[in-house]
């Protein structure tokens, strides 16, 4: 086994992104090995959301490379590859499960319909299989009894768990979480973190933007600290929390409340 080169599940290399004249990402490189849980920390406006949105290409990076599961997309695409690029982008996206701060469930579909939608209409899997798998996933996140409800009838924590089930239903190679608990009432945060912790323990590859410092410290395998669109420091949680090099990171950690 020792001669097998460990290939990262996700590798982002030298990503640049500007909105007009505002340079939000200034050459960010992050990679996650299979099964790694990376917490991305940083103050507001440091580019955390933009980084995740670039990884699944909801925002088009100005330049950089995104590699997922051995397949690579280079930005800006060369003229020759432009036409084939759209299909490739859609394919890569379908292998990444995205969980948003504001849940973003489709409001005109029930919870079950939300979960089976993309497996059926993107991956063209048979409906019966998708329903069966969706029910198992909803059971896993504790929402089996809610599968016929519309999202608007659920609490925020339930909606977020449904959104996680929806992302899992695509059998993604990696999961992206953008502040999944920030829009929740404090008493609902725990139920979502519990599901995320279970995913981490299953060995899923996860990139998690979060302000939950305990999640970062005790669940993630690595921490990346972004500052003004660049990686200021990264390392294992125990290193980061006991002896970080960056003065900014130290101040950042002092300000977040460690419960």
């Amino acid at each position: 086994m020792s001669d097998v080169v460990k290939r990262p599940a996700i590798r982002v290399t030298d990503l640049h992104k500007s909105f007009g004249s505002l340079e939000v990402l200034r050459g960010v490189s992050v990679s996650a090995q299979q099964g790694e849980v990376i917490s991305i920390l940083g103050s507001s406006g440091s580019g955390k959301s933009t980084l995740l949105r670039c990884v699944n290409m909801l925002e088009t990076p100005n330049s950089g490379t995104i590699e997922l599961d051995g397949e690579e997309i280079v930005f800006p695409p060369s003229i020759r590859s432009k036409s084939s690029n759209r299909k490739k982008v859609e394919r890569l996206r379908s292998r990444l499960g995205m969980v948003f701060q504001s849940f973003n469930l489709w409001s005109h579909k029930t919870i079950l319909e939300n979960v089976i939608e993309a497996p059926i209409y993107v991956q063209n899997r048979p409906r019966a299989d998708c329903v069966e798998e969706a029910k198992a996933l909803l059971h896993k996140v504790g929402l089996f009894s809610k599968l016929d409800q519309y999202p608007s009838h659920l609490s925020g924590g339930q909606q977020q768990r449904a959104a996680i089930a929806r992302a899992l239903a695509m059998r993604p190679k990696a999961m992206l979480f953008d502040e999944p608990t920030s829009a929740l009432d404090p008493e609902l945060v725990g139920e979502v973190l519990k599901v995320m912790r279970a995913l981490a323990e299953e060995g899923r590859t996860m990139l998690v933007v979060t302000h939950e410092i305990n999640f970062a410290r005790y669940v993630s395998t690595r921490i990346v600290f972004l500052h003004e669109g660049a990686v200021e420091e990264e390392g294992k949680p125990e290193e980061i929390f006991t002896s970080c090099r960056s003065e900014r990171l130290r101040r950042f950690l002092e300000h977040v409340d460690v419960r």
């Binding site: 379908s94 995205m98 469930l105 409001s107 939608e117 209409y121 519309y150 695509m170």
Partner: protein, 239 residues
């Protein structure tokens, strides 16, 4: 028919006008429906152009809605009927047919209704699209949906949810506008009522019956739209 009465107007008997009036009512519904569909198609294109088109397509769509909302509908019908007929006539001349060849009234009428309604549709669809939570679209794109699947599965139903009240009133306008199409010779309710009125000298009775039929149609369609609204509102939190 020495002493015709309202009963003759609504009778199915040998001298009755009911079959003619019902046929005319069907024509009215047909013109309005075709106009509604044509307008809807124009509206989807117009809204798309305004929302995501380049500068040129956006300008064209703006020009279209500005012109068609600012010009009397009757004028649009005249323009399309006579403009279209002039086109057809000149084509016919190539084939040795001389003189005025009219566009089929049903065709001219529904295109005219569609063209004027298309402008209203454009604005209704655009407004409804803008109400959709952008996050729901992000979620669709993020799971790898192609634009066509996203349109069919997510954008269209969510847009319809917010557009339906507007579409209901557009439909009512289509119904009413179809009466203007009578000037092209299409025998819809209005025209048939005029024909009956002059044949029997019972204008009031005929127009009263036409009025009643219009009301029945619009009431029935109101019920259908209310049902559709309830369906598309499912999950919106308002239902």
């Amino acid at each position: 028919m020495d002493h015709p009465s309202l009963l003759d107007v609504i009778s199915f008997g040998p001298d009755g006008w009911a079959p003619a009036m019902l046929a005319a009512a069907a024509m009215t519904i047909l013109i309005a429906s075709l106009g509604f569909v044509i307008g809807g198609v124009i509206g989807v294109g117009g809204a798309w152009a305004k929302l995501s088109g380049g500068r040129v397509t956006r300008a064209l769509a703006d020009a279209y809605t500005t012109v068609l909302r600012g010009v009397p509908e009757l004028l649009v019908i005249y323009l399309i009927y006579f403009g279209g007929s002039a086109g057809v006539s000149s084509v016919a001349r190539w084939f040795g047919v001389h003189g005025f060849v009219g566009l089929p009234p049903l065709l001219a009428g529904s295109i005219a209704v569609g063209a004027t309604m298309g402008a209203q549709f454009t604005e209704v669809f655009r407004g409804a699209f803008q109400v959709i939570q952008k996050g729901e679209l992000d979620a669709a794109i993020a799971c790898g949906m192609s634009i066509s699947v996203c349109f069919r599965r997510i954008i269209a139903p969510l847009t319809l949810r917010y557009a339906l009240p507007g579409l209901g009133s557009i439909w009512q306008v289509c119904l009413k506008e179809s009466s203007l199409v009578s000037i092209t010779g299409a025998v819809e309710l209005m025209r048939q009522a005029q024909i009956g009125a002059s044949a029997t000298r019972l204008p009031f009775d005929f127009f009263l019956v036409a009025c009643a039929i219009f009301l029945i149609i619009s009431t029935a369609s109101g019920v259908i739209f209310a049902g559709a609204e309830a369906y598309f509102l499912l999950g919106s939190g308002r239902k």
